[in-house]
Subunit: 335 residues, 2 copies
DNA sequence: CTGAAAGCGCTTACAG
DNA sequence: CTGAAAGCGCTTACAG
């Protein structure tokens, strides 16, 4: 079934059928429109998108790029929630969703040209990996959680700085004075480094000096079965009463490690996460954390991208979702 | 940059360039191959996939179809894990991944023809929704978790019957005699109905009569804030000491409801889930459940599909992943 | 309002 | 080993 077949049946030319399909109604008589539509209906004709994309140089495909992670790309609940948000608006607007997890950013170009992808959403790219910007000139791109000074593109981020500031401040208010910050590997600039800044400033604003070497623990690869990794955490915890952890998923793992080693949470150690991943509400104890509306973030990213694609218009270059403290059961008030 | 541009630079014809790109080396001299490759390299040429798909009627796209759920398609950790498994092999084999969540199965046809999708993986389709089978004749399809008598396609499932049998049996062995089964809406046949069968047979094999009206609770829509929903669960729990729940995500919610209403788990009520979603290991108490290797399921589905696409060969029509009891902390031994 | 024709960028028999 | 040509199924100026 092609456009030509339809044309033959109706007794008209492919041009006309194409015009009907594309809603160029000012170019076709109502009578013809009806006839064509009827045949399309009856025959169950479905246009070939590849041909259309080839002729149009536009595909209605939106590519979503995830960083490749060791656990597997959707094992990260943050990724899963973002994708949920993106998918919802993409499918509502009748775009198609192509997904790729990449190791090096050059892989994006391929996908870009390959399919005449109409636009991209790129997640958590570390600044220094950002490809030379000119390359993106022709394709609308929306970044999520990307910090980069020269970023001229739309970025949908969160108030990472303010969020972690609130987290540390909460610990401080609850009477904790020796507190630390644990994170996966910290890139600069990045979501994590911004959170660290918030942590640091909260301390200093209370007149508590910040000492990176004592107050921050970077964990390159968390592994609950790796003795050295566990010992580093235990060592780090020793002289502290509270810890801010840069992501809920890591926080939950660390809570388990501490519990396994005799800590009672929050009695012996107070913990605050970040992200308010849906898992955190079921953890034991329920995790006090910083909420960001991850699904909204996905929605906003997709909406902005589609606006760019369709109207060549874009709101602000930098949108920041607010972040709020969610108090649950993992922080204890010290007297 | 097109194949023609490359051809011009090399001083050769598009046919030859195409032959080099496609590895038809027996049709081109080594000298030409080298020259062409050099120019391709230098120019950063990337073939247009749409054109190729149009000419080939094959796209290297694999479509993955999820049922549309209220929470959002990736909010379901089972979906997320399956997708992780699928993505891993698809990207390793250099296919592209297109994702769609659908409400009605007819939407599949669209996607199918639209992009000359090379194959489909379809998740959790309920048997009676299965489209007329002839329609799939030309496109390889692998189903996941689909039960259907006349299913002539490959299905990657789990031993749902055996798994739930083990679950119920475990409760029985631990001294529980009045036990129940809770599930979302039950379709027939389906993953859930098979699990229910396993539950039922475990009971009957111990000489305990099974009474659907008393032993099974179907929850159409779980909502912890809906009083009626909560009351139904509390009512159901009243005269029981243990409950098998057909999915971990539901089990975890129900545990919360019970705890909120004064139950201590497992002292007052023993709970077994199903799926061993990664969340279940962090729940409070840690959830005893039935494990299935969800990522492996995704891997196997993708591998089989690609085999079908490339070699027109397929293993068995029906592959069942094994399911095993994972004992954690949500079941109590009765004396 | 309708149609003939060229073009999108590739592939693939076929001839030489 | 190389190339000319037709075709994949659509779109889009352009002419009438």
């Amino acid at each position: 079934m092609t456009i030509r077949d339809i044309a033959k049946v109706v007794g008209v030319t492919p041009t006309t059928v194409s015009n009907v399909i594309n809603g160029n109604y000012n170019k076709v008589s109502q009578k013809t429109i009806d006839k064509v539509n009827k045949v399309i209906e009856e025959s169950g004709y479905i246009p070939n998108k590849n041909a259309r994309a080839l002729a149009n140089n536009s595909s209605k495909i939106i590519g979503v790029i995830f960083p490749k992670t060791k656990e597997g790309f959707m094992q990260n609940p943050f990724h899963a929630q973002i994708l949920t948000g993106i998918e919802k608006v993409i499918s509502a607007k009748e775009y198609y969703l192509m997904i790729k997890s990449i190791e090096k950013y050059e892989d994006i170009y391929q996908l870009m040209q390959n399919w005449s992808v109409d636009g991209f959403i790129i997640l958590s790219l570390i600044g220094y990996q950002l490809p030379k910007l000119e390359k993106f000139k022709n394709v609308p791109v929306v970044f999520i959680d990307t910090y980069y000074e020269e970023l001229k593109y739309i970025n949908i981020g969160s108030d990472d700085y303010g969020g972690e500031y609130k987290a540390a401040n909460h610990l401080l208010k609850m009477g904790h004075e020796s507190i630390g910050f644990i994170s996966y590997h910290i890139d600069y600039p990045s979501v994590i480094s911004m959170r660290l800044n918030g942590f640091k400033d909260a301390l200093e604003n209370k007149g508590i000096p910040f000492d990176y070497s004592k107050d921050v623990l970077e964990i390159e690869e968390f592994d609950a079965h790796d003795e050295e990794c566990v010992n580093r955490i235990l060592d780090f915890a020793k002289n502290k009463t509270g810890i801010c952890i840069s992501a809920d998923i890591l926080a939950i793992e660390i809570v388990e490690v501490l519990k396994d080693n005799g800590y009672i949470i929050p009695d012996d150690m107070s913990i605050i996460g970040f992200d308010n991943v849906y898992l955190s509400r079921y953890a034991n104890p329920k995790l006090t954390t910083i909420n960001q509306d991850i699904i909204a973030k996905g929605n906003i990213a997709a909406e902005n991208l589609i606006n760019m694609i369709e109207k060549n218009y874009s709101k602000e270059p930098n949108i920041k979702i607010q972040t709020d403290l969610v108090i649950r059961d993992s922080v204890k008030k010290l007297v």
